[in-house]
Point group: C3
Chain length 525, copies 3
């Protein structure tokens, strides 16, 4: 009986997964001509917005290559104790943590607030971290001086502490990929000394974006311009259109609250004018920007840190990390379910996954390098986003073989070192043959062929793909496109004899990563 | 065993529903720039076409706001005894019955004709309604004088009556939302004294529309212009393009049959030239239009009317209405299945649902108002359309809090009274801050924030949404976006102290509708 | 227990199929205005590229009708012993075999190579075909002279033969419809005297195409221009844009390998410069083109030919053809599964289906003709492509009744004979009223009404539809749109009496195909 049930379940799931596969990716199509690219360029950010607590750099989304791929790219650097203020976007978003670690949160409408501050009696078991201080000494100090500032709310009521509760908060670390669904509020915070560098891809061509192709960031706070506004204006100007409506210069810059009249917000929030003004960022310095410094650091409620990591066990930890991150004073599962029918689905979904430190890469050759791919099979939340990603490391003179993406555009960002990349379009033309160096991005459109060879000791990159199950076809090596064809067809196709065709099929025994030739390895050593 | 089966079924359904959720809405993307809206306007219909039996008013679909949202809006007023002639559209359509009641029908290709006129012997149990007459006296009169006119077909054959059969006919009433799938023939008829006012939203941006974004109405009868033709021509002229092909002036206006040559139709239908000419509307007055008056009223076969309604029981009736509407002399289920494999799915699907009179609104506050939402969970047919709708009533000075649609554009049409609405875009700019009065429509693009406060005693509106499970995120109140974030993050975000942040999270205890302040309520009283 | 399982399975599948139906077709929308067609034209190919072994003709995809439908059409003629070199496209593709028979192959990344040459001991059971020779004499000759040429690889190693293995190879014949998914490498070969004529529809408007709307063919070999390149250039020039980047004249023409530098390919494939040059088609004559002649014919491994066909049994053969085509020395199912988790799904999916010779047409009337439709219910692989097709034959003076496609554009290609077609748009205008003759294509946009009457003894056509479950609504005949409406509604709609309305509903007893009138039949005889 139990077996039968298990079987039904299995069939059910596999069948439903199968359906999914039939609908690879719903992606809007670029305007006519946008993808008739005869030359690709390795692109750098062309704009940089300084904030109090960091920098936001953006690539120009009006660039033809970005328009062809239907995506926008930006990079955010967070200093220590800095908070990227909450915002949401009109399209699904993948964030790759290139460096650093910290906390992030998302707010899902209708999901319960499952992180709750403890009762006095429970407090002993819980901890609040402030990272600049020694863990133990912190708790003592908190109960001495800090208390007065942090728990001023005890002014209200009969001296009972205000117990905060909020939605899940997650810890991120270097190499994480974070999935942010369309319209979902997202914030992140750096509690460490190392600056956090986070690269964000917004898939504006997604069917989930019902606005036009422009990326948009809706901030909940501050009075800074959103980072993509300038490109909108550029584009409008470029097309010779007149700006309509009122004067733009005056009220540009502002958050989603600042456009509402004060009385509306006073009524809606039942707070006084003073608080509304802060909400609207009225008197705030525009320079403060989208990333703010938090004096003395932010105190974030989180489950007690685990004991020292055993590097050898890191991988298993990766796998059950999610379980560990459940707050230990969380409501019971049943209790949460009462709040919301979706509690066990979206509300508790895993939203990030490490791509780098894992000891189980998907492709590995000690002489050539390693590749790790995160699809919706690894991180199911990517199914909503219809995005995936790949992280790769190539050793000097190692290459990844010519291949193409069947069902996705690919946005390659070099993270470290340099590699020579070649890209070929449908006319057989070389549209790119240059070195891609750290910090530059290259867009490889769907079906265009690409190959790379590392010029540095270690070339690392991250590649964002506009399909949650992006598939590649390799043009060389075992189980490549060539080896799938009969040797006689190959011989006739390439006008060669059977022996040559056989070499084409079989000489390269590697699958994706090719180590340097013996001679090159010696030369390098 | 039965339990196991039930469980499998449950899992199966929930699993498949889960899949559905991952594919919120496939919606075409507007042209570049279309949604860079710095000012929204409350829009009125800009064209009005008078027909014999009513009026069709249309909003200009070339208006930039409509182009951004990818929809077209029109309003049809049907006088008593008037029939909106059958037509179909190139996109899914939601029709909201603002006023009145009557009958509607749709024709699904391949579905059986399950409404059948009775045999003589059965006739006693059935009734045919002609609404201008007293029910009982009607039947008597029919069998006396009316018979001669209506059953002239007994001329043919051996005096056996012709028994008509056709697909299901439905009764609609005020507050109904009707779902019309792409390409499906639809007609409606007003059998009451109150004029019927029906507002129709066509989602031209739907992936189901494989033509361009222009709304199109294909009429099966008449020789009037279809109501959106003028905008097509406007647009073509606006772009300076030349009209190709033959002269347009001559053969404009006409139905889907009038473009075929007579001999084709004679052969295809096996009828004489006289009938074909009527089919093509050749000799018909163009003024007759898309809505025709039916002399003496239309007789529509329908199950016997139920006994007097108990207003208190109305709601339960809503729920089982569908069952009651099955004609009692309908073929057995098994018999129908033999006709068509789809018989129990599309052919018998529920196609309308009341939004207004229901005593179970989704959001309710006696001092503030009520909201009722119809998604594909309420009316599964909306799953095909990928549309939903919301109906709301706000009392004087009550408001709905600032919020945004995560995954849909929203088209708000004011039905009664006036309210002040504010809309904010991604740059924090107020793009609308005016009173919206009855009869005007406002488009709120995806992710733009909106709030409203009623200026009248009762402000009512209907809001069409371009997603069958449109989700909103509230920016104020319990379980809002703000309350999902840690109080310390809020404090840092808005540069306020923890106490102020706490007020932001907790002061408003309402969820969506906020009643007027005490002082306002007193002033109003 | 078994029953329960079967039931669960059934429910599961039907439920998931039901879901599928709710998502008819994700198709990109054409640019604004593209479908405001006031006149359609029957189109011929406007370009013809001669290759060594055949011809490729293309219809102009920039034609407004093709842009409206979002598709590209081409026709390939393969001479005897000619191979269409492997290529892939940026969109799903349907290929209809108008004439001839031969072999085709596709390469699916990650699928196992399940066709393996036998060991010496097995060799007796297997055969390799070379069609110009008598079957038996061939094998003898091979082992005598041919051996030296074909098995030169025995130079390598200890005299052990190189045993080739590759992915499945399929045999196609006249009337087949072949489904080629986006990005999948496809090749075909004619081993018969009759030239193969293959018509290919590329659905560039598919959501699976993430590039712009231009069709693109990526060749794996040769140095010819891909057949749609000229239209790209035309379009770019037409818009007055400057060609960017390096000079185009020089390196135009080439395959996906020719854009890579030689050293990259040498390293990636581990072959010498000589082979790489052949791969890149460097020294090859451009005139050779996309179709090459194979001297002496190609030897393709395939299961032993079945005994002589019994025409009467042909249909059953159609059904189990797939099983028979499994190579008998194929690895066991379990063995294959070990290679790849997808082995039993994509890797072994049926990819073609005959539309013509089948003795079970879907619509059949001996006096009027026959229609066969292939949807994803017939050929499940079409679910990935979101395409379907229809094949029809009309006798002289027979017609198919006025009807429209609810959810698809339709591309009708006349194969034999001539018929008069009429098409009507939403304004009731005749947009086409001409004879469509063999070799010409007519695009009938979604919801436009169409009817046809054969002028020849046999008019045959194939119609490609941009939806895997394209549905039509008939405007005449039993169970048509008219007969779904109450007779009184019809009477009021068309301003006729009940008797006339009844004739409209009932006079034509045919469903789709209408035989010629008695008088016409006599005249023809």
């Amino acid at each position: 009986m139990a077996k039968l049930l298990a079987l039904s379940l299995f069939l059910l799931l596999s069948s439903c997964f199968a359906i999914r596969e039939h609908q690879p990716h719903q992606k809007q199509q670029p305007q006519q001509n946008e993808c008739q690219l005869e030359q690709l360029n390795a692109l750098e950010p062309d704009n940089r917005i300084e904030s109090e607590g960091g920098i936001i750099e953006t690539w120009n989304p009006n660039n033809r290559q970005f328009r062809c791929a239907g995506v926008a790219l930006s990079r955010c650097t967070l200093q220590r104790n800095s908070l990227r203020r909450p915002s949401y976007s009109n399209a699904p978003q993948e964030i790759f943590i290139q460096q650093g670690s910290g906390y992030f949160g998302m707010v899902f409408p209708g999901c319960p607030e499952t992180f709750e501050e403890p009762q006095e009696s429970e407090q002993r078991e819980s901890r609040r971290f402030r990272e600049s201080e020694q863990r133990e000494s912190r708790r003592i100090r908190e109960s001495e001086q800090g208390e007065s500032r942090r728990f001023r709310e005890s002014e209200q009521g009969e001296g009972r502490r205000f117990r905060d509760s909020h939605q899940k908060v997650n810890r991120f670390r270097e190499g994480d990929l974070i999935a942010v669904p369309t319209g979902t509020v997202f914030w992140m915070y750096n509690d460490q000394d190392t600056p956090v560098i986070a690269v964000s891809l917004i898939d504006t061509g997604s069917f989930q974006n019902q606005l036009d192709e422009m990326p948009r960031r809706f901030y909940l706070a501050g009075n800074q311009e959103q980072e993509f506004l300038q490109y909108q204006q550029q584009q409008v100007r470029g097309r010779g259109e007149q700006r309509r409506g009122r004067e733009q210069q005056e009220n540009e810059g502002g958050n989603i609250f600042s456009g509402f009249k004060r009385d509306f917000l006073e009524d809606a929030l039942n707070v006084n004018r003073h608080i509304v003004e802060k909400l609207q960022g009225r008197n705030e310095d525009q320079e403060k920007g989208a990333i703010v410094k938090v004096e003395g650091g932010l105190s974030i409620m989180s489950p007690p840190e685990r004991q020292q990591r055993h590097p050898s066990r890191q991988d298993e930890e990766d796998e059950d990390e999610e379980d560990e991150w459940r707050p230990h004073h969380q409501k019971s599962r049943r209790e949460r379910e009462r709040h919301n029918g979706l509690a066990e689905t979206i509300c508790t979904a895993r939203l990030h996954q490490n791509m780098v430190s894992s000891s189980s890469p998907d492709i590995y050759n000690p002489q050539a390098g390693r590749i790790k791919t995160i699809t919706s099979f690894d991180l199911p939340a990517l199914r909503w986003l219809r995005l995936s990603a790949e992280h790769g490391t190539l050793h000097r003179n190692a290459m990844f073989v010519p291949h193409y993406n069947l069902n996705a555009n690919s946005i390659i960002l070099a993270l470290n070192g340099r590699a020579r990349l070649q890209v070929v379009n449908c006319n057989g033309n070389t549209v790119f043959d240059e070195e891609l160096e750290a910090g530059r991005a290259l867009i490889v459109p769907q079906n265009f062929a690409v190959a790379a060879k590392s010029v540095s000791d270690r070339f690392t990159y991250v590649s964002f793909k506009t399909n949650d199950n992006a598939a590649i076809a390799r043009l060389a090596g075992t189980q490549s496109t060539l080896s799938g064809m009969p040797v006689d067809v190959l011989a006739a196709t390439f006008n060669m004899d059977r022996n040559e065709a056989r070499q084409l099929k079989n000489n390269n025994l590697f699958k994706f990563l090719v180590p340097p030739r013996e001679s090159e390895r010696r030369a390098a050593a």
